[in-house]
Symmetry: C2
Subunit: 211 residues, 2 copies
């Protein structure tokens, strides 16, 4: 009845998956620091285009390590990324993940100002100096607001993970972040999403040591 | 400073996004019932391959409508899909979304039996007769266990959303579901994921009427 199914122990499935995807990537080489991030995003999406789309600034991984080791926290614009990030691993260093999307004050003020809740969430995050890593997996409006806050000197993130997905101002918002001196990990083009955002954060955490 | 950025009111962003993606899809035609599902998945991923990958059985959408209108609930194997599904819209009909992945009894029994938590979650769901829609966005092991439970007559879902992603038994698990008489929505091949799963559920809910 289950012919064609390969029997694999639960603990071995992830390793086997990475073996298969490495085989498909073939001879392609990535830097030692970037490879786990690129591979985890492909593991999460089965989309090999990400091998070409993920753009990591030189200092990004090191800066993220330092921020997390220092107990820094993260903010994200999506509850799905919040659900997907390995919060237990992060908590070992003292940090946590914030998502203000459901906060009543955010909803009310966003409506009053006729801006997106996601962009207001960036303002709210900028008031918490322990938030060192900004993870935008959904809304380009959040990434644009973050660009402004960085440009104005209001915040100076250790890392911007800028992987909004979609069709309105998505490409433009990522291009803006690349113009800043801030460490960044982005996905070129329209692709990205909350699953990609969570995969990038988890790849960084796993590079620092797994449970 | 924000040159290149199109200023769009928050409430208009989604509509504009769907306009752009419809333009990219061009003359391509889908059935009236399938189009909102396919377009929402592309909206969520910016991956136009899904126009070819999404496979919806004839009775799937109607069966889902009936189950939801009847107050039926959903189960999912991923906390990210749980986070992404519009639970407020679902609650209007009386249903809810279950995810047993973090349940302590599931973790203990899965370890004892050396099976994945996701497959055990399907067994747990099969004991709740109000769960009518099974949403698998991550683990092929869950989809395989569900196949067995359906084959054995233990459960008779109104809809199986089978969109696990990855490299180990992913394609095979989807092929198995297609052999059953159960209404299904799957993604052919390796692609899928929790974001795709949530997008499919939300598309169905929005077809039934939005807040």
């Amino acid at each position: 009845m289950l012919e064609g199914i390969e029997i694999i122990k639960p603990g071995d499935i992830e390793e086997k998956s990475f073996e298969i995807l490495a085989g498909i990537l073939g001879d392609r080489e990535f830097s030692k620091e970037h490879e786990p991030i690129i591979k985890r995003v492909i593991h999460t999406t089965a989309d090999f285009e990400y091998a070409d789309l993920i753009n990591i600034s030189d200092d990004a991984v090191e800066s993220a390590f330092n921020a997390i080791r220092g107990g820094g926290s993260l903010v994200t614009d999506t509850k799905m990324a919040l659900a997907g990030i390995n919060k237990k691993n992060l908590a070992k260093y003292g940090g946590q993940v914030y998502c203000f999307m459901d906060d009543e004050d955010v909803a009310a003020e966003a409506k009053a100002r006729n801006i997106t809740r996601a962009s207001l969430c960036m303002e709210k995050a900028s008031k918490n100096s322990n938030i060192r890593i900004y993870v935008i997996g959904n809304a380009p409006t959040a990434l644009i607001r973050l660009y402004e806050l960085i440009s104005e000197g209001v915040v100076d993130p250790a890392l911007v993970i800028g992987v909004p997905v979609g069709f309105v101002n998505v490409i433009e918002s990522k291009e803006m972040i690349k113009k800043l001196k801030v460490p960044y990990i982005i996905t070129e083009g329209r692709k990205g999403g909350s699953n990609v955002a969570a995969a990038i954060v988890n790849a960084i955490l796993y590079m620092m040591g797994r449970d």
